[in-house]
Structures are given as C-alpha cells and as structure tokens.
Amino acid sequence: MRSRFGHRLRWARTGSGAVGLGLVVVIVLLVLIGPLFAPHNPADTVGLTGASPDAAFPLGTDRLGRDVLSRLLWGGRSVIGLALAATLACYAVGLLVGVTAGYSRRLEGLLMRSTDVVRAFPPLLFFLIIVTGLGTSIWVLILGVTVVQAPGIARLSHTATKEVSFRAYVEAAVARGERSLTVIRREILPNILSPLIADAGLRFTFSVLLVASVNFLGLGLQPPRSDWGLMVSENRDVLTLNPWAVFAPAAFIALLTIGVNLVGDSVTRSLGRSQ
C-alpha cells in the first residue's frame, strides 16, 4: 500500500516537482495562517500614502496609506479560494455536459455545438461580455471562469466517454439492465477521470490567471477588498513612491502560478512515463 502511494507521488522527487510543491505549500500556508500575523487591519489607513518600507511597515504603505504587508497576507484568500471554487465548478459542469453528450446520442449534437460556440471567443472577451450582462460579483466571477473553462473539460470527457462506452464492461452493465446513471457512475466515470484530473493543476492555474486578471481590470472583486490582483492595479498610482506595493502582490501571484504549473507539469510527465 505504502509503496503504491509512494509510486503515485514519484513526481515530487523530480527537481521541478519538488520546487513546485515547495512553492505551493509555502504560499498556501501563508495564505491560511498569514492573516493571524498581519500587523494591522488590512482595511485601515495607518500611515502616509505610498510610504517606503521601514520598521513599522516592512513593505511600506499603499495608495491609501494602508499597510502593504497586512493586505498581502490577507489578499491571497480570494485568489486561491475563488480559483479553487471556480475550478471545481468547471469540472462539475464540464463533466456533466461531456459525459451526457458522450452517452446520449440525442443530446450530443446540441451540447457539443454549444461548447464550440463558447470556444469561438477569446476567453477573456467572453468573460467581459458576461460581466456586462450580469454586473460584478463573486458569483459572476465563478460563472465566468466556468463558462470559459468547462467546454475544454466537456470536450475531453465527451471523447473519453465515447471511447469507454463501447468497452465490454460497459456493454455488460447495460446488458445487465443497470440504469444509465448507475452505468455512468460505476463504469464510465472511474475510467475517464484520471486523464482529466492530471490536467487539474493547469486548469487551476488558468482559473487563477482569469480571476486575478479580471480583478486587476477592476471588473471582479471591488475595493476595499484585499486581493493580490486588485492590489497590483490600485497601487500603480504609487509605483514611483513605493514599488513594493505593486511588486509584492505580483510576485506572490507569480510564485503561486509557477508552483502549481511545475507540480502539474511533473505529474503529467510521471504519468506519461508510466504508460
């Protein structure tokens, strides 16, 4: 049992896998327990506008005189939380659409054509169109990421379902008279999930990218929220006064996405070698 588990985690022993895992663990820990150590309330004006780092404010202050370090420690929750929620929603919707399309001949055309339509747009443009129609809110953020990302998952699971549904074990289950839902849950899903889950890292990074970019554009979370994407955009006013107010949140987003991508890449590679 143990060796099998170790085999599953063999990607973590590669150089890039270890570095990526380290980065992700550090950032996630910081985001989870960092707020406990925040020296100030992230929403309070505690100093001058755009002050340089000193003993009281290790990363200086932002454009409204708020403590950059405290906002940095609080500002990762929305990035990781929203991206995580959005990625889960993408998988739920994508799998639902893809498996239904792969299993039901009647709905296949309609469902797959709708995914084609979404894919005819640049993802961010589609996101902005949704925001224009529905306004800005957390739910619109999650909906936007889902609409943009779910078609990719739907396509993959559609193909995989079609492949699997001709296998003998599925035909046997159908012949036994199992209900479609049971067949999907017990025969199809377990056999199509692993290639889809192997991509989870990349899809999570893409969710972070989208959520952070929309927040940066001012069309997602609204001030005075502490959010890394928002911090980068609002503190560009004080770029010359206190570059740290811009650099710190940008660097944290970078470390998070690089870490997740390194992990995702080494997982994909380790799977590729075993097959």
Binding site: R113, A120, L128, L219, V232, L239, T257
Partner: protein
C-alpha cells in the same frame, strides 16, 4: 462536425484540422471554411447581443444610472433605437454592422445629447491594437522557433532544462503580472522605458517605438513560451522519426539534417501552434492595454464594461470576435496549403 476545422481557444489544447474526404481544389476548402467562419460569427453575434442584454435594465438606463427619470430613459432609448423588441433590435444592429455602422455609444449619447457613433470612436484604437498585435506576432514566430529548436536539440541537457523551466515559469504568469514585473525592471530599477504608453491621438502607434517595447514584451512573454514548448515537442518527435534516423545512418551532418529535413517537417504542425498563440493574444491584448494605458480596442472595451456602455461593448466585442474567427480561418487554410498530406484528403 459542422464547426470542424477551427483551431481551439484553450491554451492547452490543439485540434488538428479535420477535412472531409473529397477531391477539390484548395480554393474550395478556403470558401467552405470562410462560410463556416461566417456562420460562427453570426452565432457569436447572437450570443454577444443576448448576453449583454441579459440585465433587466435597458442600455439607456444602464448608461444614465439609477437617478434617471423614466422620460429621460425613454428618450435616450428612442435615440439609440432601443424601444423595439429584442429580435428587431438584434436585426437592426446586425444589419448596421454589416454596413460598417456599429450604432451609437449609449454613454456617449447620454452625455452629449446627440448620437455618438461607435465606429469613429474606435477606428484609431483598432489600428493601435492591430499594430501591437502584429508586431508581437511577427516577433513571436522566430523567437519561438529558436528557443524550441535549441531546447529540442539539447534535449535532456542543461540548456534544455534551463530553457524549458524558464518557459514553463513564463507561461504561468498572467499578462498583468509579467507586464508589472517588466515595468518594475525597466522603469523603476533601470529607468530606461516609460511605465505608460500614451500614444497621442491621431498619430500611428508605430511612430512611437519606445512606447511599444514594454507592451510587446509583455505579450511576447506568454505566447513565445507557450509556442516554444510545443515547437520543442514537435521537433523532438521529428528528430526521433525514421527518416531522420535514416539520414543519420547515411552519415549526413547533424546541422544539415536539422535544417533540411527535420525543421521543414516540424514547421507544419507549428503553424497551428502559432495560430492558437496569435488567437490567445486577443485576450492578452485587453489586459496589456489596460496595464500600460495603451489607447487600443481592449482598453476601450474595459472602459465600456466599467461605464455600463452596453452598445459600445457589443460593437467592440463583435469587432474582436470577427478578427478572432478570421485568424482561425486563415490558419486552417495555411496549414492545409503547407501540409501536402492534408491536401490529399480535401
């Protein structure tokens, strides 16, 4: 597959063109592809119109804000031609767009009192955006081929590991983060380049090369990295193929093998890769323009979304979608023209 043959939008998926088995000249494929492109565009336009119209408020009430009286709203809607049922509005809009008239900006009209046509408003910005995107695209191809080929030729060695890891790290960065890091380096630390790219109105962006450097570098970061990785993968596959083995066994020098045989065959699938990269630029351009206050279509789109200018957003979205689908069509045709194998299947 009725919409078949389009390069896909996701950065991690490439769909190879599927063409029907029938003998026909390349022009016929081009025309057919153009027709499906037009069909996609019409469906896209419906979606743009429907999605931006989802809100209970009309474009006029969105533009005027919540303190507008019903009479004011009605008057502005009248001016914009929005007091009709949805299908009629959509038809008028589409028919106007086909004639090059994208209607009037709701906010602009509300502010000035007279109809503010959208097309003159975005004409210069479209040119600025095209300058930015084309400059990036022209630099993207040789850079990606260079990095991808070097990494493939040195596969498993230090140069490959360095390039591959650097590429993966660069892909991971959102445009606004990559751009911000570039600003911090070239403006805050070195003081070489300006952090904002205010192109003066009425003067072409290409006349201000210094203002183009950082936006172009920002766009190049992710697109070069992504394409180079796929070029590397394609090149590795080619280098492992039987005809390359045969050429090696013949004793041909490695440089000749790479340049004459491997490179050519690795190029064809790369066209599809570049098409997808260039399409991905359409999204990147929006963020990059906002980041550098570059007066382009993307920045204006974001302004429109922020100002609840429904008609402006519809117009710009339609223009962007048109170019996006066009790139798709052109890429498919170029691939088929370049790869004889696909041509025999036409």
């Amino acid at each position: 597959m009725s919409f078949a043959g389009e390069a896909t939008t996701g950065p991690d998926e490439i769909q190879i063109t599927t063409v029907h088995r029938r003998r026909a000249p390349l022009t016929r494929f081009f025309l057919r592809r153009l027709a499906t492109g037009a069909l996609t565009l019409i469906v896209a336009s419906m979606l743009i119109f429907a999605a931006t119209d989802l809100l209970p408020g009309s474009p006029a009430s969105n533009a005027l804000g919540k303190f507008a009286t019903p009479e004011e709203t009605h008057a502005l809607n009248e001016k914009l031609g929005f007091n009709h049922p949805l299908p009629v509005r959509y038809w008028n809009w589409l028919e106007g767009a086909a004639r090059g008239d994208l209607g009037a900006s709701a906010v602009g009209t509300a502010n000035s009192g007279v109809a503010a046509p959208i097309w003159p408003l975005i004409h210069d910005r479209l040119l600025n955006t095209l300058t930015l995107a084309l400059t990036t695209a022209v630099l993207l191809v040789p850079l990606a081929l260079l990095f991808g080929t070097i990494a493939a030729l040195r596969a498993g060695k230090l140069a490959d590991h360095t390039i591959s890891t650097a590429l993966l790290a660069t892909i991971s960065l959102p445009e606004f983060v990559a751009g911000t890091l570039l600003v911090l380096l070239f403006f805050s630390l070195l003081g070489w380049l300006p952090p904002n790219s205010f192109i003066p109105p009425g003067s072409p962006a290409i006349d201000h090369p210094k203002l183009l450097v950082l936006p172009v570098l920002t766009l190049l970061a992710a697109s070069v990295a992504w394409s180079a990785r796929l070029v590397r993968a394609g090149m590795l596959e080619t280098l492992a193929s039987e005809y390359v083995q045969a050429a090696r066994l013949h004793g041909l020098p490695e440089t000749r093998i790479v340049r004459r045989y491997a490179m050519r065959n690795a190029l064809a699938p790369s066209v599809q890769v570049f098409a997808v990269s260039i399409q991905a630029l359409f999204g990147g351009v929006i963020v990059t323009e906002v980041l550098f206050s570059y007066p382009g279509l993307g920045a204006e789109l974001v302004n429109g979304v922020q100002a609840h200018d429904t008609t402006l957003v519809q117009g710009i979205a339609l223009v962007i979608a048109t170019f996006y689908i066009l790139v798709n069509v052109i890429a498919d045709v170029v691939v088929v023209a370049l790869v004889p194998r696909l041509r025999t299947e036409l």
